[in-house]
Symmetry: C2
Subunit: 148 residues, 2 copies
């Protein structure tokens, strides 16, 4: 395997998990900063041409994992790999953000749902989408339908 190291940190307005919008219909349009460490700045070359980035990061304030859990978007339990729960065997979070601007090694982005200070593991360009017609959203679509 490998030893994870931060390539940078998230700057966001969220200081505690309770401040982050969760559950059905939660909107993630908060702006924030991805502060990349100086030694990795060269790796950002040409990143400003992409409108959306995939951010991989560490749930550094979650401890341990549960194989089954009840997410904030449902009142029924589901397997951890069918949810975005922070309590995962490998505590890696994934967020798709919109890249608003770049200032040197700082990326201003929209769509932040991470806590302030969250370690960033990786950035990747978001390249393609699954069309709406082809996408099935399992228990989440069912939970949304039940709430209507």
């Amino acid at each position: 395997m490998f030893s994870p190291r931060p390539i940078g940190h998230v700057r966001s307005l969220y200081k505690t998990t309770s401040e982050i919008p969760k559950g059905l219909g939660a909107k993630h349009d908060a702006e924030g900063l991805l502060e990349i460490l100086p030694e990795f700045e060269t790796g950002l070359t040409d990143i400003e041409g992409f409108s959306h980035l995939i951010v991989l990061w560490v749930f550094d304030r979650a401890g341990g994992f549960d194989l089954i859990g009840t997410p904030p978007s449902d009142n029924r339990p589901h397997g951890v790999f069918a949810t975005r729960s922070p309590r995962r065997p490998n505590p890696i979070g994934l967020t798709v953000v919109e890249l608003l601007s770049r200032d040197g090694r700082n990326l201003r982005v929209r769509g932040v749902d991470m806590l302030d200070g969250t370690p960033i593991l990786d950035l990747k360009p978001y390249l393609s989408s699954i069309s709406e017609e082809k996408l099935r959203r399992g228990w989440l679509a069912e939970a949304e339908a039940r709430r209507k």
Copy 2:
């Protein structure tokens, strides 16, 4: 940080990286198996309701990283965070696969671009897409345009 551990392994027909389609227009419709370890099977509960999964995995046969590299899809160099290069500071790969069927702890999927035996770190449901109109694909769109 945390110590990455495999939650399972990829079974694919690709034994060497040279067999994996790369570059512009590469199609990833190969089928393969995600073999989840017995101790994590419970975490798959309800996963069959999702049409697409995000697989996080380890580039376990890549060593070291380059901040700048020339990807197979272009003849110009780009920053590692603007590419999907395996030579990354944290060697984590990401593949979106279509879930075809589940047999216990084995998931049959389409869209595999990993080597046989690749360690899997995490599975997450694929929940939403960026619409075609909103997505800009940076140097990759330019490289495609130049080839025409």
